[in-house]
Subunit: 197 residues, 2 copies
């Protein structure tokens, strides 16, 4: 049986990515083999650059390219609100929805089964920020799962002595969806959160 | 809105891979960002190496690492049969099924709608090999699709003046499958190909 060690090495690297099985990884490695020289060089250098150029903002934890944080150092943003998110990508999703305040990346949600304890999250730095800053509101934008809810409760309890207003995102029917497909718990939450029209 | 050019560049490279949409590409780029330094360096070098170390055998078209072709230069193989395949990966699939003859990679199947004409395939080099070699049989192992069938017919007509025995793979029920799920055409082919037991 033929051996192509370089191709196998690349297949292994691809298979370490999320959602990529061994078959897909092989297919991707073959695709790289068929790419032209230039595309391949661009791909390889992009992987190196991402590590060299991107770092985390020491204040909010968002990724940044360069020395200035795209949020903390942006004077046009509302510096009186902090939105607490699980990861960097969530912040981007919220950004697309129009939010223009500050962020705080927790780095996960409390999940003992996955080995994620409160100490592993950047909760204490959030507390420091709130204590030392001049904020009006902390919005908890964590996923509506058991782990997310637990984390929201935990963070809000820690923040309560500071007297700051702590909110969480509203739960209810997702826009554009059909009532038919909504689960019981979502409908229950939608009833609780009903509004006068 | 924040900009991370390095991450966008990497996302673009990932999105050029087969079966990777923009969302998955972004997820993969973030995963690379979270990798440790060493894994990232291995990944980048694997992409470069695949291009630098792997080449196509000028005779059969299979990928090889080094100067010797893993098939053409292997004396233990049966040098009297050539198996014609669409691409390199098909050869590997056939290899796993136990075949130990030679190969010929066509580089695709005739598909005018995709811009693949007979001239774009390595058909003439196959004809040369058969004319100048001492082969007993050419096995056409192309996909059982309209394009594959057309290509098989085309290749077999071109080879007929040489008098060599040309065969194609058998069609019928796939092993382990249920008759329930087989389509009409497959069952028709299975009837045609029925064997005495």
């Amino acid at each position: 049986m033929r051996e192509l060690p370089s191709l196998e090495k690349l297949t292994l690297s691809f298979s370490k990515l999320p959602g990529v099985g061994s078959k897909s990884a092989e297919r991707m490695a073959y695709a790289v083999l068929r790419m032209d020289e230039e595309d391949r060089a661009t791909f390889a250098s992009a992987i190196e650059e991402v590590g060299a150029k991107i770092s985390k903002c020491p204040t909010c934890g968002l990724y940044r390219e360069g020395d200035a944080c795209p949020c903390c150092d942006d004077e046009e943003r509302d510096h009186s609100i902090i939105c607490v998110v699980e990861g960097d990508r969530d912040a981007m999703t919220i950004e697309k929805a129009g939010y223009r305040g500050l962020y705080h990346v927790l780095g996960g949600v409390i999940s003992p089964s996955k080995g994620l304890l409160p100490e592993g999250l950047s909760v204490s730095s959030l507390l420091e920020r709130v204590k030392n800053g001049n904020f009006q509101e902390v919005i908890l934008a964590l996923s509506p799962t058991i782990e997310g809810e637990t984390t929201s409760l935990y963070v809000s309890k820690l923040l309560s002595p500071t007297g700051i207003k702590v909110t969480r995102l509203g739960y209810g029917l997702p826009m554009g969806g059909s009532l038919d497909y909504a689960d019981g718990l979502t409908i229950e939450k939608a009833f609780e959160g009903r509004k006068k029209i």
